[in-house]
C-alpha cells in the first residue's frame, strides 16, 4: 500500500510490490526483474522512481505483481535499508516470529 514518500538527505528510493500469486514482497532489481531479496534492489533518485513506477504499472499483470510503489532507503554496507519501520518489517519479516524472518540469502517467501 502506497504511503506518502518522504526522502531525506542522503537517502534514495527503491521500488517494491507484492507478488500476485502469494502476496510475497518483491523489489525491483537490475533489468527490471522483481526479486525477493531487497539487498539487490536498484536505488533510484526520487523523481526517476516515480516515473519508473508509472511505467511498471502498465506491465504489472505480466510481471505478476500488484501494488507497486516506491519507498525511501538509506545506503548501508549490506545494501539499501528502508527508512521506516513498516518497510523494514516488509524487508526482513515480522519481528514477532523469528522463524518467519527473511534472510539475505533466501529472501522473502523462502
Amino acid at each position: 500500500m502506497k504511503r506518502a514518500l518522504r526522502v531525506g538527505a542522503g537517502e534514495g528510493v527503491v521500488i517494491t510490490a507484492n507478488r500476485l500469486l502469494d502476496g510475497a514482497i518483491v523489489w525491483l532489481a537490475a533489468d527490471d526483474i522483481w526479486l525477493t531479496r531487497m539487498q539487490r534492489a536498484n536505488v533510484f533518485e526520487p523523481e526517476a522512481a516515480v516515473e519508473r513506477v508509472s511505467a511498471l504499472q502498465s506491465r504489472a499483470q505480466s510481471d505478476g505483481v500488484v501494488g507497486i510503489y516506491e519507498i525511501a532507503v538509506r545506503p548501508e554496507e549490506t545494501g539499501p535499508m528502508p527508512v521506516t519501520m513498516r518497510e523494514r518489517i516488509r524487508a526482513f519479516g515480522p519481528t514477532v516470529h523469528p522463524q518467519f524472518a527473511y534472510t539475505a540469502q533466501e529472501g522473502v517467501g523462502a
Binding site: 500500500m1 518522504r6 507484492n18 500476485l20 500469486l21 502469494d22 502476496g23 510475497a24 514482497i25 504489472a60 499483470q61 505480466s62 500488484v66 501494488g67 527508512v83 521506516t84 519501520m85 513498516r86 523494514r88 518489517i89 516488509r90 519479516g93 515480522p94 519481528t95 514477532v96 516470529h97 518467519f100 522473502v108
Partner: protein, 557 residues
C-alpha cells in the same frame, strides 16, 4: 456433520449457497490470475470473500458467527493453519479468526475446506453488515436474562447478503447481549442490542446506536429502551436504511453511522427512523413467535446433568492444587446450571502473541471441547476462548489438558489479559507494532501473584487510529504512532466497554516504545499505593483523578 451444541444447523439450502459462492469466487480468482480482472476490479470481490492483501501475504478472515464453534470447525482451522498458513491462526477482536500467510491461488480450496464444516468468510470485510458478535457466556451464564444466540442467528440470516445493505457508506457492526452485564461492548457498536424479558412474556430489545471506536471514538446512545421482538427486524432495517440514505460517502473518515447520529442528534435520528417505519411495510418484517421458534429449534441444547457432588469434587481439587485454584479464581464464571461452570481459556500466555493459537493448540482445544464441553467453544472479543458448559467435577482435567499445551494462564480479566491488534508486523494499515509491546507487558507482569494483587485491569493496544485493538476502551489504552521510523505510544486512561462505557482520556505526549512499558509499570505501582481497600484501578482513577498517574507515567515526581 453431526448435530452440535449452541449452533444453528445448516440445511442443504445453506450448503448449496456456499458451494455456489465458492465456485463463483474460484472463477474470479482464475480470472485475476490470467489477467481478465485487474486488481482494481478484483479487490472488492476478494474483500467480499474475506481476503485481504496485507504486508507479507494475503490474509483470510473467517467469520465465526456470534463467536460459536464446534470441535470439527476448530479442527478445520488447525488444518488450514498447517496446510495453508505457517501453523498459526489469530483470533480477532471481532470473534473471528485470521490466517496471515495465505496464497491467492489456495483460497478457493481453503474456502471449500471451511464450507465442509459450515464455515465461510463472507461479510468479514467490505461496507456491509459484518459478523454479528455476541456474549461469550451466552446460554450459560448465571447472570444472563435472555440467551442472545437465537436472535443473533436471526440477525445473521437477515443481514447476510442483504441486497439493500451490501454497499453501505461504511462497514457496519452489530453486537447483541442478553445479560445486564455488558460483555459485548454494545455501546461501542454501530448498533448495540441488549435483550431482556419483555412485559408480554416475549423478548424486548434495548437498542443503542452510533457507538464506535476508530478515529472518532463515541459511546453509543440509547435509541429505544425496549423494542418488542416482533418489531426487531423492522426497527433495525429502518435504522440502517436511514444511515444508508444519509450517511456520508464523500469522506471515509466521516462515513460511519456514529458521525451521522452526532450530526443529526439522537432525537432527530429517532424521528427519521420513525418516519421510515411509518412508510415501511412493517408486517413484512414481523418477527413472529413461530419464526423465532423455528430458529430456536435449529439449536441443540446440552444435557446439563452433573453428579450431585460435582461442586464438592471441585472444592477438593482446588484445595489440593493452589495453581489450579488460582486459575479457577480468575478464569471461570458462574454457570446457570448446578454442578457446571464456564471456563475461559486465556490466549495471553505471558510473552506470547495475544490471540494467536498454533495448529496443535487448536486441535487440543477441539479435543478438550469434545471431552469436557459438549464439543462446543466460543471465541471472545477479548481474544480468548471459552468452554461454555463444563462439569465442575471435570474442570481439573480440562485445566490440566490446557496446561499441557501452554494455555493455562490464570489471567482472564487481569493485566496480562492484553488485547492487541496484529499491528505493523502484519497489517497494511498499521503505523506501529502492537504485538511486541503486548509481549513485553505480558512478560513484565507475568508474575501471577502480582496480577492477582493488581486485580481487574484491561490493557488494549492498537497499532493505528483504526483501533482494532480497542485502545479507547481499555482501562489503559495504547495507540502506536510512527515518528519517522520510530515507534511511540500515546496512552489513554479510564476507557471501559461495559454498561458504563467510556472513552479513555489521553494522558499526555506519546512515549517512545522503550519507555512505555516502564511508564505503565509506574502507573500500576502508583495505583497500588493510591488505592483504598479493594478498589479497582478504574475506581481509584475515578476517585483520585489522572494527575497521580500522569506524574507516574512521565516520572515527574
Amino acid at each position: 456433520m453431526s448435530v452440535s451444541i449452541g449452533q444453528y444447523h445448516y440445511d442443504q439450502v445453506d450448503r448449496d449457497f456456499l458451494s455456489a459462492r465458492i465456485g463463483e469466487f474460484s472463477e474470479q480468482v482464475a480470472r485475476r490470475l490470467d489477467g481478465s480482472l485487474t486488481e482494481d476490479e478484483f479487490k472488492p470481490l476478494r474483500l467480499m470473500n474475506g481476503l485481504y492483501l496485507q504486508l507479507h501475504a494475503y490474509m483470510l478472515r473467517v467469520a465465526v458467527p456470534y463467536g460459536t464453534l464446534n470441535a470439527q470447525q476448530v479442527r478445520a482451522f488447525a488444518d488450514v493453519a498447517r496446510r495453508y498458513d505457517r501453523g498459526y491462526g489469530h483470533f480477532t477482536t471481532r470473534q473471528n479468526i485470521q490466517f496471515n500467510w495465505i496464497r491467492l491461488e489456495d483460497t478457493p480450496d481453503i474456502l471449500r475446506l471451511l464450507a465442509d464444516v459450515d464455515m465461510h468468510a463472507l461479510q468479514t470485510s467490505g461496507n456491509c453488515i459484518r459478523n454479528v458478535t455476541s456474549d461469550e457466556f451466552a446460554g450459560a451464564a448465571a447472570d444472563e436474562l435472555v440467551d442472545p444466540r437465537v436472535h443473533a442467528e436471526i440477525l445473521r440470516q437477515w443481514s447476510t447478503l442483504h441486497p439493500e445493505f451490501t454497499f453501505l457508506p461504511r462497514k457496519f457492526k452489530i453486537a447483541i447481549s442478553g445479560s445486564p452485564n455488558d460483555r459485548v461492548a454494545a455501546r461501542f457498536h454501530d448498533i448495540g442490542v441488549v435483550a431482556r424479558p419483555g412485559s408480554d412474556g416475549r423478548v424486548a430489545f434495548q437498542i443503542f446506536v452510533g457507538g464506535g471506536l476508530g478515529r472518532t471514538p463515541i459511546v453509543g446512545q440509547e435509541l429505544y429502551p425496549a423494542v418488542p421482538e416482533e418489531r426487531l427486524l423492522a426497527t433495525l432495517e429502518a435504522i440502517i436504511r436511514v444511515y444508508n440514505a444519509h450517511g456520508r460517502r464523500d469522506n471515509i473518515y466521516k462515513a460511519r453511522i456514529k458521525i451521522l447520529v452526532q450530526a443529526l442528534g439522537i432525537e432527530a435520528y429517532r424521528e427519521a427512523v420513525e418516519t421510515e417505519l411509518a412508510q415501511m411495510d412493517v408486517a413484512r418484517y414481523r418477527l413472529s413467535p413461530e419464526m423465532v421458534s423455528s430458529i430456536e429449534a435449529r439449536f441443540a441444547s446440552p444435557d446439563l446433568n452433573a453428579p450431585d457432588n460435582a461442586a464438592d469434587v471441585l472444592a477438593e481439587q482446588r484445595a489440593r492444587d493452589f495453581v489450579f485454584d488460582r486459575w479457577v479464581r480468575s478464569n471461570t464464571h458462574a454457570h446457570r446450571a448446578a454442578g457446571h461452570i464456564i471456563a475461559v481459556v486465556s490466549l495471553k500466555t505471558p510473552g506470547e502473541i495475544p490471540g494467536d493459537v498454533t495448529a496443535d493448540q487448536l486441535d487440543r482445544l477441539a479435543g478438550l471441547s469434545e471431552r469436557f464441553a459438549y464439543g462446543e467453544l466460543r471465541t471472545t472479543h477479548l481474544q480468548n476462548v471459552v468452554f461454555g458448559h463444563v462439569r465442575q467435577d471435570q474442570l481439573y482435567d480440562l485445566w490440566r489438558g490446557l496446561v499441557e499445551v501452554g494455555l493455562g494462564a490464570p489471567n482472564f480479566g487481569l493485566i496480562g489479559d492484553i488485547v492487541a491488534c496484529p499491528g505493523l508486523d502484519y497489517c497494511a494499515l498499521a503505523n506501529a507494532r502492537s504485538i511486541p509491546i503486548a509481549q513485553k507487558l505480558g512478560a513484565r507482569f507475568a508474575d501471577m501473584s502480582l496480577q492477582e494483587q493488581i486485580g481487574a485491569l484491561q490493557i488494549n493496544i492498537s497499532g493505528c487510529i483504526n483501533a482494532c485493538g480497542h485502545h479507547h476502551a481499555g482501562h489503559i489504552g495504547l495507540l502506536g504512532v510512527d515518528k519517522r521510523g520510530e515507534e511511540f505510544f500515546q496512552m489513554t486512561l479510564g476507557g471501559r466497554a461495559d454498561d458504563q462505557a467510556a472513552v479513555g482520556k489521553i494522558l499526555g505526549p506519546a512515549l517512545p516504545e522503550d519507555d512505555t512499558v516502564d511508564a505503565i509499570a509506574r502507573i500500576v505501582d502508583r495505583y497500588l499505593k493510591e488505592r483504598s481497600g479493594k478498589e479497582s484501578f478504574l475506581e481509584t482513577l475515578k476517585r483520585v483523578g489522572e494527575t497521580p498517574f500522569k506524574e507516574a507515567a512521565y516520572d515527574v515526581v
